[in-house]
Assembly symmetry: C2
Homo-oligomer: 210 residues x 2
């Protein structure tokens, strides 16, 4: 299956700015992109990166498109005659097995909901389907699929539901990631529990808690 991996190369992972420096955020975003591309390939997909800016040494063929995510993806869908999957580049827990489950789920439109109303992956087998990533996109994607009369299914995967976007996502990347991004983070950060909440903390910081 053809798999489009949208990637924000211009301002990656700004919500992590309280935890990671700008170069670190770029490195982590690139590591997750490489992990997702590899998981897609191992699941038998053909990844292509759809990026807002150029990416040196990109791990897959890259198309640059500086339009919004929704516009850029819909331009791909408008020209596609075969099934296309769209898999976000920040799924730091994605594995070949979870991507395989996505590909193997039957339905004209198969959605992998993200935490908090997003849509982390979609398989599009109906050429009338279009995306709308603005706002509560999972709700919009369900509605769009219903409007065009497409059969719809959702994949129940914690790995695909976790887009690494905020500091609260980093413990899950440390604990459950299996690729480059996890290794990169684990070299620099450790888990810490404060007031019953788990967070990541830089390794060189003094251990005031557990």
């Amino acid at each position: 299956m053809r798999v489009v991996v949208p990637f924000d190369a211009a301002t990656p992972k700004t919500r992590l700015e309280g935890t990671l420096t700008a170069p670190e955020r770029a490195t982590l975003a690139r590591a997750m992109l490489a992990d997702v591309v590899e998981a897609v390939r191992e699941a038998g997909g053909h990844p292509e990166i759809l990026s807002t800016a150029s990416v040196p040494d990109a791990p897959a063929p890259l198309t640059q498109d500086d339009r919004t995510l929704t516009e850029a993806v819909n331009a791909v869908l408008a020209e596609a005659s075969d099934p296309v999957a769209i898999v976000m580049a920040d799924l730091g827990l994605a594995t070949p097995a979870s991507i395989t489950r996505l590909f193997e789920t039957a339905g004209d439109v198969v959605l992998a909901p993200g935490r908090g109303g997003g849509t982390n992956a979609i398989v599009v087998r109906d050429t009338d389907f279009r995306v709308d990533y603005h706002g509560i996109s999972i709700r919009d994607h369900r509605r769009i699929a219903a409007e065009i009369g497409a059969t719809m299914a959702e994949v129940d995967s914690a790995r695909l539901s976790t887009d690494v976007d905020e500091p609260a996502d980093l413990p899950d990347l440390l604990l459950r990631g299996e690729g480059r991004a996890q290794a990169w983070l684990a070299e620099r950060f450790r888990l810490a529990v404060t007031d019953g909440r788990v967070a990541v903390r830089r390794r060189q910081e003094p251990a005031l808690d557990s």
Copy 2:
């Protein structure tokens, strides 16, 4: 399979106190308990509630135990000779299908990781296994399983990874829940997007945003 559902009847869902009143928190917790018990039954399990306090009209046989969660669950495990599952009562997205996947996953110890380092469900098929819910429990449970030489597997389910615990979990309950808890919440709250983040807001509040 015998399924123990631990339930905190004394001080349910205190982290939701900024969003829900105390009686509302108790009602939501009870609704999720009923949903989990029903999903367990529909998946072929035999639920029994392990509660810190009495629960009127409990939806399954109830044992009261005011020790810590770890102590109470380990007391059950110490006396069990057959497989036992432990499924948390606040899995507001749990469905018969996701619970069935848990039951059907092979392994002496099968873990369903919770977001942020918790362990939301466990199937214990090795009588030597004991739980430790304090701190980063998924890490401890992996270690304990390894120490006793048990085969281990993890279930990749967003539904089982979501314990409804904090305000940030409520949008997912609204968008993906399928039981009483979702219906109760949807009557009182709607989704709202502020600065690109999705949250729930009381229906009677003026709609200042989308």
